[in-house]
């Protein structure tokens, strides 16, 4: 695999072919490196998504649909299979509505958003309420978020923080039944970021899908279980 700058002059990808058939999309805060052990086994392109790895940040924050629009323009027409891990899986679903692909492979992807309203705890709601009454400042809210936000939220800044918020708020659950591409779900049995239950529920919604559960694995298994993932991809 070799690094290459794509036509926009600011997004990089690991490529090993001028006519790749498989496109790999990594998770939030990760890079194309996650797929190194897998991508080299296929004619492939493994993207550093805008804002990650070597690629420059987008000029404005983007939601997953906008990532999908952008990447559809950017990747070669020869791509037939999209493989997305986590956040990358979300983008892959959106991409399948823009252009026809043969297969989607979604690994530990946040396809259904659970209880979005209950995610915020009472203290945060109180802060927001007081903020609305002008009793506490935006700064205090920001401090609270920095202290109690998710690791991803704490690590993201500026445009990428807004991008993360848009990503988390993007709920695919109403869209899954309209996906016209064959879907292969791969899930770690003990995924505690995007629980297996979400994968199983999503599997009932797609028109044509199946799920492979990988025993004793969590959310990040692209390296530890590369052999199994390669095998599944080769079967497709």
């Amino acid at each position: 695999m070799a690094l290459k700058v794509l036509n926009d002059g600011k997004t990089f990808a690991e490529v090993n072919s001028d006519n790749p058939t498989v496109c790999f999309l990594h998770g939030w805060g990760r890079s194309s490196n996650d797929f190194n052990l897998i991508s080299s086994k296929f004619d492939s392109i493994s993207i550093d998504l805008p804002g990650f790895g070597k690629s420059q940040e987008p000029e404005n924050s983007m939601n997953p649909k906008e990532y999908a629009d952008y990447l559809t323009q950017l990747i070669p027409d020869t791509v037939e299979v999209l493989v997305g891990h986590s956040f990358g899986g979300k983008i892959a679903v959106h991409m399948s509505f823009i252009k026809k692909y043969k297969n989607l492979v979604l690994i530990g992807a946040p396809l259904i958003r659970k209880n979005p309203k209950n995610n915020q705890n009472f203290q945060f709601k109180l802060y927001k309420f007081l903020n609305n009454l002008n009793l506490i400042s935006e700064k205090s809210i920001e401090r609270y978020k920095n202290k109690y936000g998710s690791e991803d939220y704490k690590n993201a800044h500026g445009i990428m923080r807004d991008t993360l918020v848009k990503t988390v708020n993007d709920d695919l659950s109403q869209l899954l039944e309209f996906v016209n591409t064959k879907v292969h779900l791969i899930w770690g049995e003990n995924d505690n970021v995007i629980p297996l239950a979400i994968g199983k529920e999503a599997n009932t919604k797609f028109k044509e899908s199946r799920i492979t559960v990988i025993k004793n694995e969590g959310h990040n298994m692209l390296r530890s279980r590369s052999e199994e993932i390669i095998r599944i991809l080769k079967e497709i």
């Binding site: 690094l3 290459k4 700058v5 600011k10 990089f12 080299s40 070597k54």
Partner: protein, 359 residues
């Protein structure tokens, strides 16, 4: 005879942490028969005195390692001082990797302090840290070396990709990338601060293998077993090389490497020739690339991880004896002397006032 040894570790370098591992191992080995202290050079360029019995995890807590700041004195009785008391060491073992500990800066400081130290001298350290100067030196001496170009948007590259892109300075794998085309090389170099001091490209040979060999010159030339590290991906990533297996010594390797006689003979003859141009001091590790029957000298690591002690499985010497050899080598060398012959005041006496020279 027991010696009073200071092991210098750390330094403001991307290999700061790996240096701590090398230094702590070395201190432990040398403690067998010597009085050993550690001089810790912090990431923010400060110096501290430490005991030799520390564990690597202790360096995660500032309060354990930043207790005893050291001062430097130049004019009377120059050297390292703790609480106004001079630290009298017989010799310094330099266990720094990369950055100023391996690029000639530390060596210059130790020369000025008039102390004895192990490892490369100023010039060898500088030549081996600069990949372009090292390349031209090898080429000029007729040694096989992969063609390198300096990366520069103003000048066209002289050969086709894929390329290996490397920062011009620095010995670690940080910033080393396989890149498909030159435009991508330029984009990477322009968008990252790893290459601000310059970058070089060479042809990426997909099926080439790395071959490593340790070299020492004291008491006489000695070559280690030849090692072939085992790589999983395109190149060694930094994490693969250092982090996943508990340091360089824990990585997967073929030792001794399974090579045909012809290649082994060639490697040994190249080592001997290079050693006559850039003499090894301490333990250097030569890194070769073998591509079919072609061999290229890739680089010399003048202070390799773990001082490459694990490579010497072919001779009957313990790690203690190997380290002791390089300590003895340092002690046996004369201190750097600068001559002032020619500056006898005559030029000063005969000169007119400075203002008249500004004319």
């Amino acid at each position: 005879m027991s010696k009073n040894i200071a092991v210098i570790i750390g330094g403001p370098s991307s290999e700061h942490d790996i240096s701590i591992l090398t230094g702590l191992q070395s201190a432990r080995i040398l403690s067998k028969d010597n009085k050993v202290s550690i001089l810790y050079w912090s990431k923010d360029n400060k110096w501290y005195l430490l005991d030799s019995i520390l564990e690597s995890k202790d360096f995660l807590e500032d309060k354990k390692v930043l207790k005893k700041p050291i001062e430097l004195r130049f004019n009377s009785d120059s050297g390292f001082y703790f609480k106004k008391k001079k630290l009298d060491f017989d010799v310094f073992l330099n266990s720094c990797h990369g950055g100023p500990g391996e690029d000639g800066s530390l060596q210059s400081l130790l020369n000025i302090l008039k102390v004895k130290y192990t490892g490369p001298n100023v010039i060898s350290a500088q030549i081996c840290m600069d990949k372009y100067v090292f390349y031209t030196t090898m080429k000029e001496n007729g040694l096989p070396v992969l063609h390198k170009d300096l990366v520069n948007r103003e000048v066209d590259v002289s050969f086709k990709g894929p390329y290996i892109l490397k920062p011009r300075f620095g010995g670690s794998s940080i910033g080393v990338e396989v890149v498909s085309d030159y435009e991508s090389v330029l984009k990477i170099v322009e968008s990252s601060d790893l290459y601000t001091e310059g970058a070089v490209v060479e042809k990426y040979l997909e099926n080439s293998e790395d071959i490593l060999i340790g070299v020492k010159n004291y008491p006489s030339l000695s070559l280690s077993e030849i090692e072939k590290p085992i790589k999983n991906e395109t190149l060694f990533s930094y994490s693969e090389k250092y982090l996943e297996n508990g340091g360089l010594e824990g990585s997967q390797r073929e030792l001794p490497a399974n090579l045909n006689n012809e290649i082994t003979k060639k490697i040994i003859s190249y080592v001997e020739k290079i050693n006559s141009i850039i003499p090894t001091r301490g333990i250097f590790r030569y890194d070769f690339l073998v591509d079919g029957n072609d061999i290229y000298i890739n680089e010399i690591n003048t202070i390799p991880g773990s001082h490459a002690l694990y490579l010497w499985q072919n001779i009957d010497k313990s790690k203690y004896e190997l380290l002791n050899d390089i300590i003895d080598e340092a002690l046996s060398d004369d201190l750097t002397i600068w001559t002032t012959t020619g500056s006898d005041g005559l030029a000063l006496k005969s000169a007119k006032d400075i203002q008249s020279k500004l004319g």
